[in-house]
Symmetry: C2
Subunit: 231 residues, 2 copies
Amino acid sequence: MAKDVSADNPLNEVGHSLTAAAPRRRLSYDERRAEFVSMAIEFFAQEGFESSTRGLARRLNVTQPLLYRYFPSKDDLIAEVYEAVYVQRWRDEWGRLLADRSRPVRDRMIEFYHAYTDAIFNDDWMRIFLFSGLKGVGIHGQYLGIVRERIIETMLTEMLHERGLAVAPLTEEEIEFGWTMHGGIFYYGVRMLIYKSSVLNNKTFVIESVVDSWLSQIDSIHARARARAEG
Amino acid sequence: MAKDVSADNPLNEVGHSLTAAAPRRRLSYDERRAEFVSMAIEFFAQEGFESSTRGLARRLNVTQPLLYRYFPSKDDLIAEVYEAVYVQRWRDEWGRLLADRSRPVRDRMIEFYHAYTDAIFNDDWMRIFLFSGLKGVGIHGQYLGIVRERIIETMLTEMLHERGLAVAPLTEEEIEFGWTMHGGIFYYGVRMLIYKSSVLNNKTFVIESVVDSWLSQIDSIHARARARAEG
DNA sequence: CTGGTTATTTATCGATTGAAAAATAACAAC
DNA sequence: GTTGTTATTTTTCAATCGATAAATAACCAG
């Protein structure tokens, strides 16, 4: 009649399946909850959001139904993962840094991209960003809107201002060209962290060369776009 | 006793669940197989590779076990999807185009990126590329190796040759800088097709500005990299 | 030591999954 | 028409999924 000590039992690692052996630890509500969200970020980033709540529970050394004491559904847990990754890792100071006109724009851009990539060039963030992008979840689109507004458009405005060029309104061409710079740097992170390619171990080089490359063309882009807009 | 006319029945669309109503068409082995692979590309691209074989069968108006007459397992079917997307859509002429020294390198690069993005800027290719990248399947890494060899390194070699600069061996910096250009263009496709962002509807502009931006910096990159390599 | 609270586990449900086996029906050859 | 082949469906299975309800045990207050 051997009790079905199933895979839900967090202690069944290598066969000693006696339920008794459990030194069951008991955490406070807040501690457990924080542990669950934190571990869920890592778990879903590695395994994908289609992975089972049982797999997550196993990694937490906890039974699967316990998750449902803290989150009403798997989707709610996933929503908290998004929140933790997208919202809590965004730094408002990035926008202020880029808008600080006491410094050359090139310096600001390079410092920004160092700080920004310090925040996003890690397995958890990158993989969750791509997973959620493929799923088309709302928060991913919102995040892109913020990047456009607070980063791409700010960099353009500041650069055009510094060079004494007409700023408003920014043209679609200028913004798109901003995205290509952003994408060049982002893709470096994708190759390094998602594709596990062997990349140049020199983030500074990548940031500076992409930024300089962008700066060398922005005047020409600006002139072309304005001519087209007026002609 | 109502027979369990389950979801496996391809004719159960809107309730007329009588099994009799089937005008069952019967295709040859090769036709069916081709249809399955072709539809599986679209299906898995949209729904992800975790989606069920029943979902795929439903879309094919066919029962789910029929799939197993043509493919021994779901993984084998997925492998054929990869094959069809990665191998069959690659054009060997791209390499020849880039190496044609009767034309200016800039022209070749721009023409190449037009042709290349014509091939890959579609939902199926882009989504399957990202899905497989996140899963870390072998063929994805192999594909990146080919892109590096046949595209990135070729463009660099040709450009340095045209400008009378030392070509061999290419430095890591030069190659990484090549990837940032590639990534800038690729990211344009990701924003358009994966993220469904509203992007500038002018692929020519994106390609030309990224290529020109890259060309304007490659001399400086080259000089810096060589100095570092020798110093 | 006792009683109440609650974090945690045990047990279980219905739905869905990939897959196999057996039954059926479409088509070709004669 | 009859027969043989095989494409297709029907039926079914064990495993796994998200989720619920009930039992249990750890901790705190008195």
